[in-house]
């Protein structure tokens, strides 16, 4: 058997026997990214809804800016959050640099614009359809925004899951603000980068396989939810 084959075999072995190191890394990854996505959704969804229903000067440039932020390079986000949280930085007193909290902050910064921009697009399409009817029924902007969020909830789940995928798969930001400290801030992507450069291919491959499986599973869940919703609610 060649090296690659052996690495694959060992990787599957690690996954099969739930290797402790592997499980710890995956658990931390999921925990960090999930928390970051919850934070990002709590900020991004109301922001998206507000942008969908409100009309104010400067709205269009703001939307363009928000759309541009979707493409933020993770390493740049990492750098900015690093500057913010470093000892000398404005939030240095929190002392959370090189902890999972810092990684959550970085990933939330990365994902919030994605959730806000994508949900703004979806909610605005619904708003185009609903606006006259909701205004006719006397809905205020705020209650219209809530109605849009509720009525679009299944599309929004897809968006939030996409955000989770982005958070779990990025490496640059968590590497910079987390430091890839073993047992503390080492997540799947940073571990893969490190183990690959060290030559420990089975662990890197095992994590890679899990990461890919996770992304596929998320997309499957998203599409099933969407399909069920369309079937059920039209």
């Amino acid at each position: 058997m060649n090296d690659v084959g052996r690495a694959f075999a060992e990787a599957f072995g690690m996954i099969g026997r739930l290797d402790a190191q592997l499980v710890d890394i995956v658990a931390l990854s999921v925990q960090v990214s999930l928390t970051a996505v919850v934070v990002a959704a709590l900020i991004g969804l109301p922001l998206g809804a507000a942008l969908a229903v409100e009309r104010f000067p400067g709205r269009q440039p703001l939307i363009v800016f928000l759309n541009a932020l979707m493409g933020l390079p993770p390493v740049v986000v990492g750098l900015l959050v690093y500057l913010l949280l470093s000892r000398a930085g404005p939030l240095g007193d929190l002392g959370i640099l090189f902890t999972p909290a810092a990684m959550i902050v970085a990933q939330a910064v990365l994902v919030t614009p994605i959730i806000a921009a994508l949900s703004r697009q979806t909610l605005e399409d619904t708003w185009t359809e609903y606006e006259e009817q909701l205004r006719s029924l006397g809905a205020s902007r705020a209650s219209a925004a809530l109605t849009l969020l509720w009525d679009s909830r299944f599309s929004l789940v897809t968006i939030v899951l996409a955000g989770f995928g982005r958070a779990a798969a990025e490496v640059g930001a968590v590497m910079i603000v987390g430091g890839n400290i073993e047992g503390v801030t080492r997540v799947m992507t940073t571990a893969i980068a490190l183990e690959t450069s060290k030559g420990d291919l089975p662990l890197a491959l095992g994590l890679g396989l899990i990461l890919i499986a996770l992304v596929i599973a998320l997309n499957a869940v998203a599409s099933v939810i969407k399909e069920l919703a369309v079937k059920r609610y039209g």
Partner: protein, 233 residues
């Protein structure tokens, strides 16, 4: 809150004049049918009356501005929220300040009145076009409006659903709600209307009772309109 008075109301969008110094008074009582060719400004007039559009100039005055908006509107294409039929009715009621309990009761009654009680718990968007329009009427009716605006409510419906909708409109009128409606169906205007407002190019050209309007229209525009809509007469 009626009568509603419009004085010299203009509405323009993108430099195009849609309502041109329109002065009209809409009284309680008779069912008002707004007729006119496409682009006459019928839908815009109703949206201005309902408060969805703000006139570019001119004045719009309700007799009493008694806090609550006792008016409702039904659109050509019903807009249904992604929830059950009864939840759509309850949604409107709760926005108007009815309690959860009272909303449920009223919603149930009104669905029965439009013949949708068996569809109450089906997703509204899965209903047929005719059922959706009846649901839209139910949602408006539940609010107990003093005025109901209807913008070509049967334009997309088959004859059977059209009859259902017409009888619901008649029932709503019978409970004391003022009906203001646009239609392209002259037979419908005759069946449902008491008076006709005839519009052309953003102006009110003629106002008459249904009988008089169809027997001897006064204006050349109305004559031409009736002739073009009913060429076999």
């Amino acid at each position: 809150m009626l009568p509603l008075e419009l004085r010299d109301v203009c509405y323009a969008a993108n430099g195009k004049v849609i309502l041109d110094r329109l002065t009209v008074r809409i009284d309680a009582g008779p069912r008002t049918m707004i007729l006119g060719p496409n682009g006459a400004g019928k839908s815009v007039l109703m949206r201005v009356c309902h408060g969805l559009l703000r006139p570019t100039s001119g004045a719009l005055r309700w007799c009493s501005s008694s806090g609550a908006r006792r008016q409702a509107m039904v659109f050509q294409r019903p807009v249904m929220l992604r929830r059950t039929a009864i939840a759509n009715v309850i949604y409107g009621l709760e926005l108007s300040g009815f309690s959860r309990r009272e909303s449920a009761l009223r919603a149930h009654d009104v669905l029965e009145a439009v013949g949708l009680e068996t569809a109450a718990h089906q997703p509204a968007r899965k209903l047929s076009g005719g059922e959706q329009q009846r649901l839209a009427l139910a949602r408006a009716w539940a609010l107990g409006p003093e005025v109901l605006f209807l913008d070509e409510p049967t334009a997309n419906l088959d004859p059977r659903s059209t009859r259902d909708v017409e009888s619901i409109i008649t029932a709503i009128h019978a409970t004391g709600t003022k009906i203001v409606m646009t239609t392209h169906n002259l037979g419908q205007a005759r069946r449902l209307g008491d008076e006709i407002l005839f519009m052309s190019e953003g102006r009110l050209v003629e106002r008459a009772s249904v009988d008089v309007f169809f027997r001897e229209p006064a204006s050349a525009e109305a004559k031409a309109f009736i002739k073009s809509e009913l060429p076999w007469q």
